[in-house]
Subunit: 401 residues, 2 copies
């Protein structure tokens, strides 16, 4: 048979993370690799009660085909919970926020269109954009955050700038109020649309992050949100908020993609969320993840050899680590897996010019005990990769004795 | 803001059916327009029990991120229920079979690629293919079914032929064993891949339809199936079976599109389906839909003026009607809506050269009483559209007295 694949299919590659996760599939391995929320946070009994109620009171409608826009009460809840004036008519319920990226790619990217992303950025966004064959460019960061000069230099003709301002995947970093104000002003001056992805924004530890970019210029931004991190990912529900000029085309793309997101799931989530459930539930996730972050920071400080650097994320799920000069996280991985611990090498998250010294650690899925064991194992792997360094550390210890 | 839309966005149009359904949204209207399964057939209590069991026994896994391929036990059930040798590794669970069409379009269609469809065909497929900018050509039918000469004439360079052999949407027609054998042989001779869509195949009334095209040449076909018509559409679950040469790229496209279909829904469906539930349940749907078809056929025979033609579908959900010469179903619609009944004009389902005399009636959503009232109302609208014809009919009646 003459199966001729589309040209775009050649440009699509297996998810590096997916391939890595295959390598790490061995019994008893401690994984810091996945971006999985802690299943302890899933409100199972609330979901169970919601399923029963939805099926009992509204089963036929919940199981029938439904509007592509999404379940109206859920769209209203989304609009009401966002910190700027949102018309529920601008809310589109999506099959996870991943689908929002797919719809944006279809509507805004032509072959060769310039698309700007952060350095590094969410791998799933690169995967969602790639089939529409854009020319993806990374905007550099500097010590103050985003390098606005680099943004300006690359903005000409760009279809949009894709950005995760809160507890970013993969780096865990957060854009300050000052950076947001400056980016928003610069984007407006350049006429550069922003696609703002905010799956982690609710997972702050000490104080909420600054206002979203979209709140500062709703007509210039598409905003993506998710229920995966505050309720559960297995329901595959997210949402987008789009300017009225874009909404109709996004809706058509949504309809062609899967008709609508599961009506049953949408009613379940609306049922769970009513009466302010998230206001009681999300603080318990924040507290858990903060204690997990602290456990990982403590273990890193205790275990890591000199020269290894990491950040202190103010929320979210990820710690970003940088190995000493001359080391490579891709080479480190098999040595870590030998020691029963897994992570994702950072190069997977770069659209271009990867920093191969970086790696991403999730601190939310493993237990504190596993964090202690796993971080020690990574430290041992780093030392094994760099015996000279280990030797010099031992020498130093001997001298210190 | 300089929102520049992709060229493909211009080619995307609102669903005609969607726009039509808006016109028909008036209280108390009898709708034969939608393609909605009868909600009476949804096994609500089984779903409720399955939700409870899945959340109780396996809640954390059911609510977590999961493999893009789908839930392994469900993939095994799908492979086992199909009437040819299918390796579960070839089964990809999709967010409704609509998503299967989206993935196929991404993987197999370049701008300008030739794609062949039936005359008429499923509108949702046209919508799913259009964003990838194919050149869609209709293959003609003749009295014996598909016109294989026309297929051959148009097959050169075509990426695939999209076909619904069973109780087709919109026409309700079914391809005979002879037609399938001939099409399969012709496609193989031409090296023409087939995309076989089979959402309605289980809904047969008197005898099962002939073997799928895919069963005759698994390497030359992608097969799409759905749980929407045998369980419920609101869970948005379908599946595809792909040759091993295509599966990896379809999987990558799936992952980029929404990571995976809802893991909770997949476990729910697997839980409901185990122990052969479909073998007990689907016959009740068949019996209901057959009685509804019979009611509509009886009403049509009783009410329709001379010159109106319709078929006798052997399964599925739709009756296909053709108005007399000189009449137009698009003009008929507002007159029907005035009389509180709705349908879909057939021209919406043609990729090219629409037959504007045709219309689609669903016989499964309305009650028998509504069918009687609604068919009479359409007949009255036809007569009102064609007063001369009505007059001549009255004259004839007078003469007959």
């Amino acid at each position: 048979m003459n199966w001729t694949q589309a040209r775009r299919a050649e440009k699509m590659n297996p998810s590096v993370i997916r391939e890595i996760l295959k390598v790490t599939e061995k019994p008893g391995i401690i994984s810091f690799a996945g971006g999985l929320p802690s299943p302890k946070t899933f409100p199972i009994s609330e979901f169970s009660a919601a399923c029963e109620k939805v099926l009992r009171d509204d089963g036929q409608a919940a199981l029938q085909y439904a509007a592509s826009e999404g379940y109206a009460p859920l769209r209203e809840m989304v609009a009401a919970m966002l910190p700027w004036e949102v018309d529920p008519a601008q809310v589109l319920i999506t099959t996870g926020s991943q689908q929002g990226l797919d719809l944006i790619a279809k509507i805004l990217i032509d072959e060769g269109s310039r698309v700007l992303v952060e350095t590094p950025t969410y791998l799933g966004a690169l995967q969602a954009f790639t089939p529409m064959e854009p020319n993806i460019l990374s905007v550099a960061s500097n010590a103050n955050g985003l390098d606005l000069q680099d943004l300006k230099a690359k903005a000409e003709g760009a279809r949009f700038f894709y950005v995760l301002p809160n507890f970013q995947n993969p780096t865990g970093r957060t854009m300050s109020e000052e950076s947001r104000a400056a980016l928003s002003a610069q984007a407006s001056a350049l006429g550069l649309p922003i696609v703002e992805d905010n799956p982690y924004g609710e997972l702050w530890f000490d104080e909420p992050p600054p206002l979203p970019l979209t709140a500062r210029n709703p007509e210039g931004c598409v905003y993506l949100g998710s229920f995966s991190k505050v309720l559960a990912p297995g329901l595959r529900l997210g949402f987008m908020v789009a300017p009225k000029s874009l909404y109709p085309k996004l809706l058509q793309a949504k309809q062609a993609a899967d008709l609508h997101s599961p009506s049953f799931n949408q009613r379940m989530v609306a049922e769970v969320m009513k009466d302010g459930f998230l206001e009681r539930h999300v603080p318990t996730i924040r507290a858990l993840y903060k204690s997990q972050r602290d456990a990982m920071l403590t273990a890193m400080t205790r275990e890591m050899p000199a020269g290894v650097e990491w950040n202190t994320p103010a929320g979210g799920m990820f710690l970003w680590v940088r190995l000493p000069q001359g080391m490579n996280a891709i080479e480190l991985l098999p040595r870590a897996v030998e020691r029963n611990v897994a992570f994702v090498p950072g190069w997977a998250f770069y659209a271009d010019h990867p920093d191969t010294r970086t790696l991403r650690l999730s601190f939310v899925t493993a237990s504190v005990e596993q964090i202690n064991t796993g971080v020690a194992a990574i430290a041992a792997a780093i030392n094994a990769l760099n015996p000279e360094r280990e030797q010099s550390r031992e020498d130093a210890l001997l001298v210190a004795k």
